[in-house]
Amino acid sequence: MDIKRLIIVAVGGQGNLLASKVLGEAACRLDVPVRMSEIHGMAQRGGVVESAMVFGDAVSTIISDGEADILLSFEPLEALRAIKKCNSRTVVITNISALPPFTASIGKGKYPDIDTIVQQLKSKVGQLIPLDAKALAKAAGNELSVNMVLLGALIETDILPVTPVSVEDAIRETTKKAFLDTNLKAFEAGRGAVREQIA
């Protein structure tokens, strides 16, 4: 089976670990070989959290610089920071709702303008799919389901060997019952947003 390499970056607490778990479960259901690697611990206290997922016939669990097929970023600045994982063919999906790091608020560094980030990303990778995941999550009923919106967007690109149905099933199994409805709605919203952009 073709190897597909996905990097997910987010800020600690954005729910990316749940997103990658859902994706892994979905692949498991389809008997697609999958391995994932994540860093837990200190970084989770508001730092950058990165997951690497490798689908298909490879045994490594991490992804070297320049070798990601897809980069899914929960935050625009972090997409730019993770750009070294990409090459000129990589598809990048990024949330454009910013979470400025604390350092920027105390004047250590300046948060770049979103448009500049988008332009820079665009010029370096194969395809860029920007979306306001926070707004879409809010519209779906819960601001915190940014992770599900982005998961929807990712699936809609149809690059990974997992199906929308398997992901929905995994969402049903993995996420809290109370949030199930909004999660599924958010997932659908993410798919819709990408459908519009690709069309």
């Binding site: 498991c28 994932m36 837990h40 090459n87 400025p100 350092t103």
Partner: protein, 617 residues
């Protein structure tokens, strides 16, 4: 039922490496387990802690790794299959017990799991635990994948019982924290009632006894080497003349690399999964079929040294390389492209690396270092100390926990750190050596782990220092494990007795002890001032629950705050506290109300009283 207890052989679950290891122990009939939590090993014990509530497994969070190993060593010598879990640096703490336990040996299997951390994702060093195998004489097993780790735990218990020695099970972060589909095997019911047969001339390690025991240990090492040569975990793939010897996760990168480089038929790979003692005969015969050999191992040249010595013994003159300025480094972790590149370079295979996106025109991006949570009480304590010690020249040793992050600006509390408990011992030394005021910081769990002997030392020698014990009622950093100072009844865990930090400190004889509530800023500053003006040892116990832990119980502190238009934009709040709930929008300070926990600390320091709580909903 806990997901790792399900007895359905053949079942496939998407599990974290650490969960797979815990499952492996359950399948092997583990009866007894002890640990001191440490990333990247923590999830193994977290699962045991939960499993122990609904099965016969005995599990404890011991006060430190040495105690944990002693507890498990006794259980194993009472015939119970036991497991002791720690991170790599924890092995240093346990080493005193480990070295002589190797002499004494065990009856029931004992697996000592260590988690090394190449690249130091969450550790203070990247020491290579394999050298503890050499130092102690104990066997070492090293899996390459989560599935293999699960299966290997069962083998580790068998090996331990066959040799009557503890087995070191070495993992690394990339295995502990990788997730993959895991196929379950059958569960073995544990034997849970132990029995100790007295035999002082084999168990009490006075010199006369130990002289015999060392002889026995050497025999065991010899037997172990034979077993390593025959072990299915030391296997060879391929029949080419290009030899590659690798271990752990490096094996995965090698496997992918020979495929990517299209050299499967040219290569011959020896995967070492049983790495102490190194399988001498096996390696010699492997080398004799190779034209040249490359050793691929993260960390130190542990295998390389052994392989080179073995080649010399066998009169083989082939080129053997590993750690080399042009090939692999002893630093940090490996990755697939790096391994591919080194294999191509060493064997002369044409290879074009993937070009990563050019980052030369990307401006310096603002960093996003980890930060204490919004509302973390440590921030309030550090602020109080900064205010109380304003204008004074102080040295502030710190310790290991979330509060280590307090060394970053704007709090800037933390001048020195080497290991668990070092805040106290180094405070003693700094105060004597420099004559300056010393203020040390240590967490509650770390205090129990290894802070107490240092404090006794300080009292005995009448050192002049202030120790701030940050008591947030949990071991927060590693995922909120309990420790002896925790009110377990309150968390719904009956059967424990809480140890009061205050009584311990007073019992040691500290003259000046105060307890503060860090969310009460004014009082805290006054108390810290008093403590640091005391001549001699003073202790401040800063007691406030970890806000993240409270959140997980929905025990929130209060209503979130907002910045009203009384704000004159001095930004003391942002510049002196650095709480991540603050942000700046259109040049005005704002508070993110989903992050704000309502601790109210910023409201107390704002000179304009501009920060106000939201009205009750």
């Amino acid at each position: 039922m806990h997901k790792l207890l399900v007895d359905q052989p053949g079942e496939k679950k998407f599990l974290l490496g650490n969960e797979a290891i815990a499952r492996g122990a359950i399948e092997a009939g583990v009866a007894f387990a002890s640990t001191y939590p440490g990333t990247p090993s923590s999830e193994i014990s977290l699962n045991f802690f939960q499993i122990a509530r609904e099965s016969d497994l005995y599990f404890e969070y011991s006060t430190n790794e040495k105690v944990a190993l002693e507890v498990s060593a006794a259980a194993a010598n009472s015939g119970l299959r036991s497991m002791c879990i720690m991170k790599h640096v924890g092995v240093n703490v346990a080493a005193d017990a480990l070295m002589t336990l190797a002499y004494v040996g065990i009856r029931g299997g004992l697996v000592i799991l260590t988690a090394d951390d190449p690249y130091m994702f969450s550790s203070q060093n990247e020491q290579d635990t394999r050298y503890y195998g050499k130092l102690s004489g104990l066997p070492i097993l090293e899996p390459s994948s989560a599935q293999e780790a699960k299966d290997m735990v069962g083998y580790a218990f068998e090996l331990s019982e066959a040799l009557q020695e503890p087995v070191i099970f070495r993992t690394t972060t990339r295995l502990n924290h990788s997730t993959a589909p895991i196929i379950f095997g059958p569960v073995k019911l544990p034997e849970t009632s132990g029995n100790f047969f007295k035999d002082p001339f084999n168990y009490v390690t006075v010199p006369a006894v130990s002289r015999n025991l060392h002889v026995k240990l050497l025999k065991h090492i010899e037997e172990a080497e034979q077993m390593a040569c025959e072990s299915a975990y030391n296997f060879i793939t391929g029949e080419g003349r290009w030899g590659i010897i690798c271990n752990g996760v490096s094996y995965n990168y090698v496997t992918d690399a020979v495929k990517d480089l299209n050299i499967i038929d040219k290569s011959r790979i020896l995967r070492i999964g049983f790495s102490h003692p190194m399988p001498g005969q096996l390696i010699k015969s492997f080398l004799s079929k190779c034209e040249k050999a490359l050793i691929v191992e993260e960390g130190e040249p542990y295998m390389e040294e052994a392989v080179k010595a073995l080649a010399q013994e066998a009169n083989l003159t082939l080129s053997i390389r590993g750690k080399d300025p042009a090939l692999f480094s002893r630093l940090f972790e490996f990755d697939p492209a790096m391994v591919r590149k080194c294999i191509a370079a060493y064997f002369g295979v044409p290879y074009e690396a993937e070009m990563p996106a050019d980052v030369s025109d990307i401006p310096d991006l603002p960093q996003r270092p980890p930060n204490l949570c919004a509302g973390c009480s440590h921030r309030a304590t550090f602020y109080a100390v900064n205010k109380a010690a304003e204008g004074m020249e102080t040295i502030r040793p710190t310790d290991i926990g979330c509060y280590t992050l307090g060394f970053l600006p704007p709090l800037s509390n933390g001048d020195f750190l080497i290991c668990m408990g070092s805040s106290v011992g180094t405070s003693c030394g700094f105060s004597k050596a420099t004559g300056k005021k010393v203020i040390g910081f240590i967490g509650d769990s770390t205090f129990f782990h290894s802070g107490i002997p240092g404090l006794i030392n300080a009292v005995f020698h009448r050192h002049d220092l202030t120790l701030v014990i940050l008591d947030n009622q949990t071991t927060a950093m590693t995922g909120h494990q309990p420790h002896p100072g925790v009110d377990m009844e309150g968390l719904n865990y009956p059967g424990y007795q809480q140890v009061s930090i205050e009584s311990v400190v007073r019992g040691i004889g500290v003259e000046h002890v105060s307890v503060i509530k860090p969310y009460n800023v004014k009082k805290s500053i006054v108390a810290v001032k008093e403590a640091i003006s005391h001549d001699g040892v003073s202790v401040i116990i800063a007691r406030q629950n970890c806000t993240l832990f409270d959140k997980s119980f929905k025990r929130s502190v209060g209503r979130p705050f907002y910045v009203s238009d009384r704000c004159k934009n001095h930004r003391l709040c942002i510049n002196e506290l650095g709480c991540p709930a603050f942000y700046v929008e259109n040049d005005r300070v704002r508070i993110n109300s989903t992050l704000c926990t309502g601790c109210g600390v910023c409201a107390q320091i704002c000179p304009e009283h501009a920060i106000l709580p939201f009205k009750q909903k």
